[in-house]
């Protein structure tokens, strides 16, 4: 009985939460070659790109939105991101590389609580860096998904490939059998032979917030 109730609640939650993007069509992945899937996706990943997105940040029933400008170098693991509000006021500016993150600017409200710089930098890395599973990853196939499982110290990162393009649709971090964050990628768009997700949702389950990113412009 308890399981049924939990099932109904989960079903309702899933049904009620609106995803503002189209999920990849469900197709069979049974005949897909995992090695090829990974290889082809790696060829379509952009190395360095600049994008403009709108970003909605949801936390404890509250939400704010702003315009994000990101310069990402996935090979060098370097990034610069800035947020401006809808009347053109700069909210923050952060740069980062493999060693450190640097807050160039932020309005006071953003720096009052927690470590804003590390949080933003961490989210950028989760979303844009390491989108390919390591060669040492294990894998398992589901009817409509190929899942690569990569061991990390104290955690497991799972990469889910699905849809007609056999593209990365989800990346999630699991600790003690529970997902602590997940990134979902939607509606890939091609520019100059490289793929960019038009919609991204980062769900930070551990800290209870969500980022919904809508791609507006690619400046590769």
């Amino acid at each position: 009985m308890k399981q049924i109730i939990i099932g109904i609640i989960l079903f309702c939650l899933a049904g009620c939460s609106t995803i503002p993007f189209k999920s990849a069509p469900v197709i069979s992945m049974e005949k897909a070659d995992p090695g090829m899937v990974k290889e082809q996706f790696s060829l379509m990943l952009p190395g360095r790109f600049q994008i403009i997105s709108t970003i909605a940040f949801e936390y404890m029933g509250e939400s704010i939105s702003f315009i994000g400008y990101s310069d990402i170098d996935t090979k060098e693991k370097i990034f610069t991101v800035a947020g401006i509000n809808q009347v053109g006021i700069k909210l923050f500016e952060i740069t980062g590389n493999s060693d450190k993150n640097e807050l160039k600017f932020a309005i006071e409200e953003f720096t009052k609580k927690g470590n804003f710089t590390e949080a933003v930098a961490g989210d950028i890395r989760k979303i844009y860096f390491n989108r390919l599973p390591a060669d040492s990853s294990k894998l398992y196939k589901k009817k409509h998904e190929i899942v690569f499982v990569q061991d990390e110290p104290g955690a497991v990162i799972e990469f889910v490939f699905a849809g007609p393009g056999k593209l990365l649709v989800e990346k999630r971090c699991i600790v003690d059998n529970q997902a602590i964050w997940r990134v979902n990628y939607y509606e890939y768009r091609e520019k100059n032979g490289k793929l960019h997700p038009a919609g991204i949702i980062l769900d930070n389950i551990k800290y209870g917030y969500k980022l919904i990113m809508r791609l507006k412009e690619i400046r590769s």
Binding site: S63, S65, Y69, D71, K90, R219
Partner: protein, 222 residues
């Protein structure tokens, strides 16, 4: 709201911040020229009761050397109503009326209301805006030095004086008027950080009736 944000907020909405320069280094002739231009502009602007204008706002962040472009429409109704509608790259509406700022955006689809009396920084910003639109420029006299870049149509460069509110953030603000000088053609803000904002006004209509819907944020919002 930080000093920086409020300052830029003020400048983005400033229409004609023609301030009297009391700099002793300015020659008598140029001071007289400037006074003449300021008086002329004030007289021309004083007849505006309502305004509808398109805008293109180009924000260039020094760190990127590339521009973010916002496009939309501004509505003003004297003495105290202003609506700022952004259409690109996202839909956003901000309405300032009496004691309240209401804002909505399509991504969150929520309306947020901010009471001016409970937010002194915003209240100060709006208060100054109202002074600019009404032609009461005296409170700004101490803030800037003004250079007359061009007399007809007027082009003015405002440089914040040291240790002023604006001086912490802004390097200069240039305001260009359109040919008939009835309204502004462009506002260009240079920040000390190297960021710039170029706000161009297009398809400006003066003293036309404004529809009630202009002052409403999205009715379907949560």
């Amino acid at each position: 709201m930080t000093i920086r944000a409020v300052t830029i907020f003020l400048l983005l909405f400033s229409a004609a911040t023609y301030v009297y320069a009391q700099n002793s280094q300015v020659s008598e002739k140029s001071r007289a020229d400037l006074n003449g231009v300021l008086s002329r502009l004030e007289k021309k602007m004083s007849g505006i009761k309502t305004l509808k204008t398109g805008f293109v706002q180009e924000k260039e962040l020094a760190i990127f050397k590339q521009k973010v472009v916002l496009k939309g429409t501004v509505y003003i109704e004297k003495p105290a109503r202003l609506a700022w509608h952004v259409n690109e790259p996202m839909k956003y509406i901000m309405v300032i009326s009496q004691d309240m700022i209401s804002q909505w955006d399509e991504d969150t689809n929520k309306v947020q209301k901010i009471s001016l009396s409970k937010n002194p920084a915003f209240e100060a910003a709006i208060g100054q805006m109202q002074e600019w639109f009404s032609g009461a420029y005296t409170p700004l006299l101490k803030e800037y030095e003004i250079e007359l870049l061009k007399e007809n149509p007027a082009s003015l460069k405002f440089t914040p004086r040291a240790a002023t509110f604006a001086g912490n953030v802004i390097k200069s603000v240039t305001v260009d008027f359109r040919k008939d000088e009835q309204y502004i053609n462009r506002i260009f803000i240079e920040e000390k950080s190297g960021d710039t904002t170029n706000l161009s006004f297009v398809e400006t209509h003066l003293n036309i009736p404004l529809e009630d819907s202009v002052w409403k944020v999205n009715p379907g919002a949560k």
